[in-house]
Symmetry: C2
Subunit: 465 residues, 2 copies
């Protein structure tokens, strides 16, 4: 899908930036200069590579959906091990991760009265089902999580609560937090006032899609568990219009979701290139291997898997790194960061936490990176100037000292490992996040190449500084 | 959803055009002048009205999907009769239409080998099912209907044929014809060379949607009937990628579609305002009341229903028409123009064909009208100049003499009734045509108002000339 015109566009932009920055680097030290030249070379090579797209095409085509505990989860592990070996990673191994298995089952919703028609919905991850027979109840609408939280005790007894809060669009994903509470906590908030089930407007920015956005929810153990599902935005609009007409709206809800008894054993899949000078020191990057089941997980998080694998491969193809480069493909991020927690525990047990030079995950689609944020002291950050300089031609600015390492390196970050965030433009990410539309065609190859270039520069710098 | 800014945009454009055309109408005859002034007034009033959107909102919210023979079909008739009466149509009646009832049932498709994953599909209208147990077979890809037509006898024995022909985008819908053959005739073409089932790439221009496009198909009575379904474009891409890897791809197909025995009796719903001078002369406009089942039929053809009802109402609110204005809401267009054929037969039986002054249906979504084409002689067309002049400020040009009356007025057109086409911009129509995404949010209210204004001008002209 790449056209020459697209590549010309990238190269043109980069070439101009390099020319402009050449003057600024008038009298660098020998060490800085050598590193800067290496980083420029890594960046240019990565921009011309299609490896990440090829890896992503392979994952989405040959594995597809890979929800935790499904056959796709197991296939993805087999795929990952084979792919890392095929690409020449020197050590390829897995570390077991345990988690419960949630099964989606079927889900349907019909308006019974006063305007019979079907609504499109998807059960939320972790939800229970409606039981052997469908649930018939009147719906009660709340405009926001706050309105539901403020509702009087027993005000929704026997009702289906509908949380009709819209998600706003944002570049940095900051609009996700306030709304995702409807998904995560909505069931227990509704159960608290007596509801039999909860429906939410999808946590997504697409205004006109029928595709519901799934995602994980949680039950408060002190409260009755009730089924939870998301309506697509178009269907949430439709239900809202019905309710606003004033007559009671009765729904028939049939959800056959359940959580299996016992635990499933999955694994984090790890690939490494061993460092030549400081093999015990680790530059850890990666993405999560699991996805939701509705789409093929191209953006969430096939893109993160593909771009970090590609970056590690490209960097080591240029020169054997001084430090070990480790790519971690995490198990079951979606349903509770199981892989990320297990990774931190394993690193702690192996006394590896302190050997992490840096840790960073990509898990926000394939939009262009606009900022690098590193959690470090001011003097440490100052020493990273060649890295920030090398990212500038890609349109990437130096961010605040507020990195988390993303979901899966969050736990090891809390144990003290240095973490970084390569922040991506997520303006359109939540249009398709967790929907059936998360498929390969959503990936812009030019943007993906910009991501790979940034990850390659980042990885090369920490592996060889 | 209308903003003042949007209305300002429309009014600004119209105002300018009126001002520009004022000079051109320097010395009109008294009759022409009066008609032109009336048409300008109708046009301006219609642009400021939201009646069509309100009618469409009512239909999609209170009825929703209304596939022929379903409970939604019956609800739509009840809704239509009530709505026409509520709006003051003087005669509201129905004429029975008979047709068979096709039931969709469930449909699923899985790749069994070599890359197990699910594909999204929708059975095609009229298709049979796969029987009691799923069909397991290897898939065989053809790039086009032509390639399938040219295939050797028995070259697909026992296979599932996949027709992977892409639809191109066009303003006038002319790119639909060549591709829709895959949907209509694909099953019999595939059966002819021994296939057990046919899958087609959706006949739609959306490149990145998982939503399949349904639509009617036909069996050649001389050939074995095999199940037929459409994959969404994203899934067709996926299957294509799998096939191109070179290993045989095996599918498991479960389709439970069927056609019920016997005939269902639906109806065309008709609303009229009686003419004051020539009540026997008929200006017939309308849309089809049925829709496919996956969406709520907002564009296909809720928009046509709403805009012609609104145009008739607005025109008659201005002044009692000289001729009878008749709005026909046709039964079951989607599965074979049953309502349109029944209307022509009824008109013939009542000797009404020759009393049709003009007949025209709207059935192409809610994109702006860019051309009016009327099937008439050159002298007749010349007498319609005030009509063409009045449409110009809306951006509507005079077209060729190639009107059909659209699907439902096609049959009465063939019997000799004069027909016209108000051609709409369909550039984006086939992105959502016959999919679950055909919902109210797709309708641009400013574009809808332009349509209503054109229909009102058109209707006023023929009813009062």
């Amino acid at each position: 899908m790449n056209t020459s015109a697209n590549w010309m566009r990238v190269f043109g932009m980069i070439g101009l930036s390099l020319w402009l920055s050449a003057g600024a680097l008038a009298q660098p030290s020998a060490a800085t200069s050598s590193m800067s030249m290496d980083l420029a070379e890594v960046r240019q090579k990565a921009l011309a590579e299609t490896l990440a797209f090829n890896v992503l095409e392979s994952l989405t085509t040959e594995v597809g959906p890979r929800m935790a505990g499904t056959p796709g989860d197991a296939s993805a592990r087999v795929w990952a091990i084979a792919k890392l070996k095929e690409l020449g990673f020197e050590k390829v191994y897995s570390e077991p991760v345990q988690y419960p298995v949630w099964e989606r089952g079927r889900a349907s919703c019909e308006v019974v009265k006063p305007y019979p028609q079907r609504l499109e919905l998807a059960a939320l991850g972790g939800s229970i089902g409606t039981g052997n027979k469908p649930l018939l109840a009147e719906v009660m609408m709340f405009d926001s999580v706050k309105a539901l939280t403020d509702a009087k005790p027993e005000s929704a007894v026997g009702k289906i609560v509908f949380i009709n809060q819209r998600m706003l669009r944002s570049k940095d994903g900051s609009s996700y937090g306030p709304v995702v509470m409807a998904r995560v906590a909505g069931a227990s908030l509704a159960a608290k006032i007596g509801a039999k089930a909860v429906l939410i407007r999808s946590v997504g920015t697409d205004a006109n899609s029928r595709s519901p956005h799934t995602g994980v929810m949680r039950y408060d153990n002190m409260l009755t568990r009730i089924p939870a599902a998301a309506l697509g935005n178009a269907d949430a609009d439709l239900l809202e219009r019905m309710i606003l007409r004033g007559q009671p709206v009765r729904l028939k809800l049939d959800i056959q979701a359940r959580t299996r008894k016992g635990q499933y054993t999955g694994a984090n899949i790890i690939g490494e290139f061993t460092g030549s000078e400081f093999p015990e020191q680790i530059v850890a990057i990666g993405g999560h291997l699991d996805s939701w089941d509705l789409g093929t997980g191209a953006l969430d998080d096939g893109a993160g898997v593909a771009m970090t694998i590609a970056a590690a491969k490209l960097v080591t193809a240029q020169k054997r790194p001084k430090r070990t480069i480790r790519v971690v493909l995490f198990a079951n991020e979606e349903q509770g960061v199981f892989g990320g927690k297990a990774y931190a525990e394993s690193a702690k047990a192996k006394a590896e936490v302190k050997h992490h030079v840096i840790a960073s995950e990509s898990d926000f689609g394939s939009g262009r990176i606009y900022e690098l944020s590193i959690k470090a002291s001011a003097p440490e950050i100052a020493e990273m100037q060649p890295l920030f300089d090398a990212l500038k031609p890609l349109g990437i600015e130096q961010g605040e000292n507020d990195a988390t390492g993303s979901a899966d390196f969050g736990p090891i970050g809390l144990l003290g490992a240095p973490v970084a965030d390569l922040k991506q433009d997520g303006t359109h990410y939540f249009d398709i996040h967790h929907t059936a539309n998360d498929t390969l065609d959503k990936v812009d190859q030019v943007d993906l190449a910009q991501n790979v270039a940034a990850w390659a520069v980042f990885t090369y710098f920490f592996a060889n500084r």
